[in-house]
């Protein structure tokens, strides 16, 4: 009998469907990996199984019991342990205390008011054992917040294990880890095989293929495929989901764009290092965007693409490195000053202002920051995106996903930037809309707009972009023009797909 059975699980957030009719089974003792491109709903699924979210429809059965409405702390006591995507520990407590708390929680009522905990020596001895299990025995007295990022992820697993779970939910356990740290995590997970069932969300395909007994692929909230690693790897649907349509209606002309030599770099990033709190995300990024070109940032999720873009714009202050825009180092400047120089962002998730109308979203920030002779104005933007004309008076939150995407692009264009940055501008859109947007980007590029683009549909990008940078684990691992990328499909397999 399966340990965990998820049946017909659906989760809606208002108008957004994050998961739709998902079925999943995890057997006792097996390592089951959950993979999928950005926005697929993997963490939502983990949160639903853990009890942090309530499903809109569907059932969750654990060890024979229906736990769909059971609160998270009760599920923990039933034997579901979890780690979080962003490290979530008791920061000011030591390693020992963190583990001891988990041991305490699992062993009897918290409503004891008289007997001092430190006299229950067995709790601390058990905690010590778990510390040893995850390789932190020599760090027992260190505050969790003072640990390195990799050690914190290890402690996360330790805290989850200390609850003696039957099922362990690991949400991106190796995120932000170096190669060696990843190896250690892989060894740990392997050592648990048979003892504890593990449901694992991961982007690092090396890790996945070394530990998983079975793999389920989630795409846009639905289960696309499920089976052994071999089956998944050779499944053409899976490849298409990761890399984009091989065929399909093309609005964009097939082309081999060639950039004339000797163009100056509009943007140059040198040695960029960025941290989120204690965890280092970027380990020295170098890239250049020549004026008038279309440059892409490629790579799987969690590799640092969005962080790079946010660092360029000053939304996340870089710890080290230079960001040179039109000859000026803007690293450390506040975002509005950088934007005023002529960089506009079309962010991940669109982030249009929900309490402004379409018209207001467009005209509120309008400016001619690049000093063009015939700048973008409202009429011209509406000509580019005719669909928006009918929606001018509607509030931002009333638009569909595709319309919001167009609005976000229009909003950025209205500032007439030197550099237009788009982060996952086609995510979650129907194929026809994606084509429309790429067609529009091609038009912009032909008009001389410099574009920095994050997207996953490499096939298309080869026709659109001049130059590509592939990121992995916060570093640039490959760069080159479209011909080079087109010529070497093993690169795609290695860095971009399953």
């Amino acid at each position: 009998m399966s340990l965990l059975q998820v049946r017909g699980l659906t989760k809606r957030f208002g108008g957004l469907t994050a998961l739709f009719r998902c079925d999943l089974e995890v057997q006792p003792g097996e390592v089951h990996a959950l993979i999928g491109p950005n926005g697929a709903g993997k963490t939502t699924l983990i949160n639903l199984v853990a009890g942090a979210l309530q499903p809109t429809e569907g059932r969750i059965l654990f060890d024979g019991l229906d736990v769909t409405r059971t609160p998270p702390h009760e599920r923990a006591l039933l034997g579901i342990g979890r780690t979080f995507q962003i490290t979530n520990l008791f920061g000011h407590d030591t390693v020992l205390d963190n583990l001891a708390l988990a041991v305490q929680a699992r062993s009897g009522s918290p409503f004891r008011f008289w007997y001092p905990v430190h006299r229950e020596r067995w709790i601390f001895e058990e905690a010590r054992r778990f510390a040893e299990r995850v390789g932190l025995l020599d760090r027992l007295g260190v505050q969790a917040a003072a640990l390195s990022h990799g050690e914190q992820r290890q402690l996360e697993v330790g805290v989850a294990l200390a609850g003696r779970p039957k099922l362990l939910l690991l949400d991106e356990p190796t995120s932000g880890m170096s190669q060696e740290e990843s190896h250690r995590m892989v060894d740990l997970i392997r050592s648990l095989r048979g003892e504890v069932a593990i449901l694992l969300v991961e982007h690092d395909m090396d890790v996945v293929f070394r530990v998983a007994d079975r793999i389920t692929v989630l795409v846009e909230g639905r289960v696309l495929a499920s089976g052994t690693p071999g089956e998944v790897r050779t499944n053409p649907d899976v490849h298409r989901a990761y890399l984009g349509e091989a065929e399909g209606r093309r609005l964009m002309r097939r082309g081999r764009p060639r950039l004339p030599e000797g163009r100056p770099a509009l943007l140059r990033v040198e040695g960029l290092k960025t941290f989120y709190g204690a965890s280092q995300v970027l380990f020295g990024i170098d890239l250049q965007v020549p004026a008038g070109s279309v440059v892409t940032l490629l790579g799987r999720n969690g590799m640092g693409k969005t962080t790079t873009v946010r660092s360029i714009l000053g939304l996340v202050p870089p710890r080290a490195g230079r960001i040179v825009f039109q000859g000026r180092n803007v690293a450390g400047w506040p975002p509005e000053r950088i934007a005023a120089l002529g960089i506009a962002l079309v962010p991940e998730g669109r982030q249009i202002f929900p309490n402004l109308t379409v018209r207001e979203n467009l005209i509120a920030f309008g400016a001619n920051r690049s000093g063009r002779d015939d700048p973008w104005q409202l009429d011209r933007v509406l000509h580019l995106f005719p669909r928006l004309r009918a929606r001018l008076g509607h509030l931002g939150c009333q638009l569909s996903g595709g319309e919001q995407q167009m609005l976000a692009i229009g909003r950025a264009l209205m500032t007439n930037p030197h550099l237009l940055i788009l982060d996952e501008a086609t995510e979650g859109l129907a194929p026809a809309l994606r084509e429309e947007i790429w067609g529009c980007l091609q038009t912009l590029s032909e008009g001389g707009q410099t574009i920095l683009l994050i997207d996953k549909y490499v096939d298309r990008l080869l026709d659109l972009a001049h130059y590509h940078f592939i990121l992995e684990r916060g570093r640039v691992v490959w760069e080159g023009p479209s011909e080079a990328l087109r010529a070497d499909p093993t690169l795609w397999q290695r860095y971009l797909s399953v």
Partner: protein
């Protein structure tokens, strides 16, 4: 992706090593405490000879406020619950005594348990509703309840309305003089501190701090967060209510101001002055506040300005309070 919005996180003061020592106080600590206690016990006897009667009243007030602030510290400091309505429990404790005295019930053996129990029940009711909310909503709802009780109490004209109510001290079989109230306050404070020490070091205290430091992680390891917080809230309210009972014995007067939200703010400021989340925070803060008020009072009639400025400086510059200064810089 990191969110720019502030969610309900453990406040700034919690960014320091755990202030609760794992072991019981060392021998040196214990000796120091015993000496201090002896000093407090002997003070009234000495006060007569050295003509310090005025300070007897002041110390009594400090002891009672120390109890109230320590009660609040359990919810605020250890629980991370920003209750802006704790004055309700303080005031209700006081008013129970005063109202019962007005109705002719003066036996301490009846009035005290009734007072504390009533306050605990109110805290249970308010807590069970308020704790279902978070962050700013929680502050607002506790504030709303505080206002409701305030207006409720002052609407009873026969119990003084806006003017407050005179109260006779309850009867323990012997009548209580000022010195009696002093010793009673000291005894209650010492007893409650001992109780709090046990609570804080037991499983409950650890679990409570876990819910404060990281709510989602606490739930994920199996702690019933809502129940733990509710229990802390009720205990905290009861202790503060007891302080209210003592206060009305001290002043022999229950005033509606004891219930209002500025009184809650006053208690919270005491706690932060002393050191939020530190065991002695309530005591240190109450004594420091009373001393501060006295010092400024003797210097100028505009003493509230001095106090306000000191408190502002504390909040901005020394958020860990006096206890933080005494502990030294964090490791």
């Amino acid at each position: 992706m990191a969110s720019t919005r502030r969610t309900a996180i453990a406040p700034d003061f919690a960014r320091r090593p755990s202030a609760v020592p794992e072991a019981m106080p060392t021998l040196r600590h214990r000796t120091g405490l015993l000496l201090l206690l002896a000093g407090f016990i002997l003070f009234p006897l000495v006060a007569q000879t050295w003509r310090l009667e005025f300070y007897l009243g002041l110390l009594t007030r400090a002891l009672i406020l120390a109890l109230a602030a320590s009660g609040l510290n359990l919810a605020l400091g250890y629980g991370g619950l920003l209750s802006f309505g704790h004055a309700t429990y303080f005031g209700l404790g006081a008013y129970t005594v005063a109202v019962l005295a007005r109705e002719g019930v003066r036996s301490a053996w009846v009035v005290w348990p009734v007072g504390v129990l009533l306050v605990a029940l109110v805290a249970l009711g308010v807590g069970s509703v308020s704790l279902r909310t978070r962050g700013l909503s929680f502050i607002m709802i506790t504030l709303a309840f505080a206002q409701m009780f305030y207006y409720g109490v002052i609407s009873f004209k026969q119990y003084g309305g806006e003017d407050g109510l005179r109260a006779l001290r309850t009867d323990f079989g012997v009548s209580l003089g000022d010195v009696g109230v002093y010793y009673l306050s000291l005894a209650c404070l010492v007893l409650c501190l001992a109780l709090l020490w046990r609570i804080v070091h037991a499983r409950f205290g650890r679990a409570l701090r876990a819910t404060r430091d990281n709510e989602s992680r606490a739930a994920a390891v199996g702690f019933p967060v809502y129940s733990i917080r509710l229990a802390a809230f009720v205990l905290s309210g009861a202790i503060t209510g007891l302080a209210g009972v003592l206060m009305v014995h001290h002043t022999q007067y229950a005033s509606p101001g004891m219930l209002g939200w500025p009184q809650s703010g006053h208690l919270m400021l005491m706690v932060i002055l002393g050191g939020v989340g530190n065991f002695w925070g309530g005591v240190l803060g109450a004594f420091a506040m009373v001393a501060l008020e006295e010092v400024f009072h003797s210097v100028t009639i505009h003493w509230q300005m001095g106090v306000g400025l000191v408190l502002l400086a504390t909040v901005l510059l020394a958020p860990r309070g006096i206890a933080g200064i005494l502990e030294g810089r964090p490791r």
